[in-house]
Chain length 157, copies 2
C-alpha cells in the first residue's frame, strides 16, 4: 500500500509519458506507426498467432487490432492465413518484407534511444521495464471484463 500523493503522482507521470511515446514515434519510417512497429516485433518474437492473441498482447480492442493488421497486410508486412483448425480465425505471420522493415525500425529505435538514454545503465532500463510490466499486470487483474471474459480485450457484448 502506498500513500495518496503517490497515486496522484503516478497518474500524472502516466499521462506525461505520452510525450515520450510521441517523440519516439518520430524516429519511425513515415508509413510505419508505433502500433505497426510493435505488432511486427511481437510477431517476430512470438511467432505465428491469431488476431485475438495479438490484440491481447497489444492491450487494445479486437476492432482496433483488425484495423492495424489490415494496414500492415496492405503494405505487405504481415501475412494472414486461414486457420485450418478454426475457419473463423486467421493466423498472422511476418513476411520477408516485414522482417526487413522491422530491422530498419530496430535500428532507428536503438539509435534514438541510445542518444537519449546514454546515461542509463542496463539495470536502470531493465528495472523500469520490469516495473511497467508489473503495473500493467496489476492493473489488468482489476479490469472487470478480465475477471470473467478470460484473456481477450474484446468489447463486452
Amino acid at each position: 500500500m502506498a500513500a495518496q500523493e503517490q497515486y496522484e503522482e503516478l497518474a500524472r507521470q502516466l499521462s506525461a509519458l505520452g510525450a515520450v511515446k510521441r517523440g519516439l514515434s518520430r524516429a519511425l519510417p513515415h508509413d510505419c506507426s508505433p502500433a505497426t512497429a510493435i505488432m511486427l516485433n511481437l510477431l517476430k518474437r512470438n511467432g505465428e498467432m491469431r488476431m485475438s492473441r495479438l490484440g491481447e498482447l497489444l492491450a487494445i480492442d479486437a476492432s482496433v487490432t483488425s484495423r492495424h493488421v489490415t494496414h500492415a497486410a496492405e503494405h505487405g508486412w504481415i501475412d494472414r492465413q486461414p486457420d485450418p483448425l478454426d475457419k473463423r480465425s486467421r493466423l498472422l505471420s511476418l513476411t520477408p518484407s516485414g522482417e526487413l522493415l522491422l530491422e530498419e525500425v530496430s535500428e532507428r529505435y536503438t539509435h534514438a534511444l541510445a542518444a537519449c538514454l546514454h546515461d542509463w545503465s542496463d539495470d536502470d532500463v531493465g528495472h523500469l521495464i520490469g516495473l511497467m510490466k508489473r503495473l500493467r499486470e496489476s492493473f489488468g487483474d482489476c479490469r472487470p471484463r478480465a475477471l470473467h471474459a478470460g484473456t481477450t480485450t474484446r468489447t463486452p457484448v
Copy 2:
C-alpha cells in the same frame, strides 16, 4: 547504455501503458477528463501559474493547453485572471469548486489504485514514479526544439 532488445521492449511497454491510463480514467467523474484532473492537481500543488507553464508541466502544445483550460474554466473549476505584469498572459488558479472536484478525484483515484496496487509497497510505487520521471527528463533533453527553444512545448514557428 543498454542492449537493443531492451530498447524495443521499452517502446512496447510504453505503448501498452496506454491501457492502464485509459482504465484509470474510467474512475473519474463523467465530465472530468484525465487531463483536467492533472491540471487541477498541478494548480493545487504549484499554485497560480501561466498557461505556458502549465503546458510545459503537462508536456503538451500551447494550443492543447488552451483547449483543456477553456474546458475547465467553462465548468468553473479554473479561474483565469489577466497578469498585471504582462497583459498577454493569463494567471490560472483553482476555484473553490475546482478544489471540491479535485478532492472527489483524489478519492476516486486512491480507491481505484489501492484496489489494483494492494500488493505494491510504498517503495515500489516511488521507484516506478522516479524512473518514469527520469525517462521523461532524459527524453526531454533530446527533443530538438528543447535545445534552442528553452522550456516551452510550443510548436516551433
